[in-house]
């Protein structure tokens, strides 16, 4: 069973795979019952959903070869590969000119790693008391603001009571993706210039802004923290990218002033996190 956090992580991975391997055209992950759990941004939902059902029907007929582990459908233009990853199937459609082994290994290894990693995180979260997983200052600071964090605080105070299991395990603070800890997204800098450009505002793809809205609901996000690979950080405002051709390309348009602040330049990588009040 794929959780929401897993689906988010896998979707991000699938989008990244498409960026590094342009021959990969379509990627999606589906459950054994055909239900789509994750897909890249450009994959058509209805086609993926239908494909999941068709493949599920085929799986049901595969007892003669001991169940279906993988399938490759090679056409004159494109190749569709479907392989089992634990309880799910990963489908990839790529150009026939692409390197089958490379794309196969890339997608399978990355997606299965992400699935296992997020599985492990979920398992740890279930095993450990909430008070050890969330930094106390985050919950107390945001408790007044909304219902969700209020619930977190209640859970924190409840779990603060001594529990037999809690005493046995070593207290350790592990990374947990939670609403209190915004997800970081990697972008490539594209220089943003012009007379009307606001020097303190970067421009980001709509799909990322949408994901943040989905994640944080009605919380208003007006600023982002930008961090370079060298550890330079700055906080700035953001707006959606105007040029629709740049959508989904993993690009952040950045004015010169912010580039100078971060000591970075066009083509460099940065991590961007939303600032959630």
């Amino acid at each position: 069973m794929t959780t929401g956090a897993q689906a988010f992580a896998v979707e991000t991975t699938l989008n990244e795979i498409k960026k590094v391997s342009p021959d990969v055209l379509t990627t999606f992950l589906f459950e054994q019952n055909g239900e789509i759990t994750a897909k890249d941004n450009e994959t058509d939902s209805s086609a993926a959903s239908q494909a999941g059902k068709v493949f599920t029907d085929l799986v049901e007929k595969a007892d003669a070869i001991g169940g279906l582990e993988s399938a490759t459908f090679l056409g004159s233009r494109r190749r569709m590969s479907i392989s089992r990853i634990d309880d799910s199937f990963l489908a990839t459609v790529a150009s026939t000119e692409s390197d089958e082994k490379y794309t196969g290994i890339l997608t399978r290894v990355l997606v299965s790693t992400i699935l296992r990693f997020t599985d492990n995180l979920s398992f740890n979260k279930e095993q450990e008391p909430t008070s050890q997983l969330t930094e106390p200052e985050l919950t107390t600071n945001t408790a007044k603001d909304n219902e969700e964090t209020s619930r977190n605080q209640i859970e924190t105070s409840e779990s603060a009571e001594p529990e037999p299991d809690a005493e046995q395990s070593e207290p350790e603070l592990e990374y947990q993706p939670s609403p209190a800890e915004p997800p970081a997204t990697q972008f490539i800098i594209e220089h943003l210039g012009g007379l009307l450009v606001q020097p303190d505002t970067v421009r980001l793809g709509n799909e990322v802004i949408r994901q943040w809205k989905d994640l944080y609901g009605e919380k208003e996000i007006t600023e982002v923290d930008v961090e370079t690979l060298n550890g330079q950080t700055t906080r700035c405002k953001f707006k959606p990218i105007k040029d629709s051709k740049l959508e989904g390309k993993g690009i952040i348009q950045m004015p010169q002033k912010i580039q100078l602040t971060l000591q970075t330049s066009n083509g460099e990588l940065v991590m961007v996190k939303p600032v959630v009040d």
Partner: protein
């Protein structure tokens, strides 16, 4: 286990009866040179170590030659569904004209392809290099 080979040439249409222990295979057309050649190649391939059998069918006839005769219907259904699945995926994702389909299970794999009017499925052990089988089939 002895290989079971069936080739029936009486019924006018192809019918697959799932309930029967023996699959119905029929043919109405005279075998032309192409299909003769294809069957010769399949017969030769099926003798190779690790190849467990084949199914060949077209609009009017079908032939099955499999080591494991206990689940002929299962093999035939898989072969048929693989071809159908290809057609559906091709329409959804613009795969283009059919090349081949490879299905890998836990214990075996099957290579399905269309040659002219004929749909061929070759069943083999997982360790067999299916590309070599493909080369031999296409000559």
């Amino acid at each position: 286990m002895a290989r079971k080979k069936r080739n029936v040439t009486e019924a006018p249409t192809t019918v697959l009866e799932e309930e029967s222990s023996i699959p119905i295979i029929s043919s109405t057309v005279e075998e032309d040179l192409d299909i003769k050649l294809l069957r010769e190649r399949l017969a030769e391939i099926s003798q190779a170590e690790g190849v467990t059998g084949y199914i060949i069918r077209n609009a009017t006839s079908a032939a099955i030659d499999l080591n494991d005769t206990s689940n002929l219907v299962g093999f035939a259904l898989l072969s048929s569904h693989a071809a159908d699945a290809y057609q559906e995926f091709s329409a959804m994702f613009n795969l283009g004209e059919v090349g081949h389909t490879l299905l890998e299970g836990q214990t075996a794999k099957v290579l399905c392809l269309t040659i002219g009017e004929n749909t061929v499925s070759v069943f083999m052990e997982k360790t067999i290099d299916h590309m070599k089988i493909l080369e031999r089939l296409l000559g």
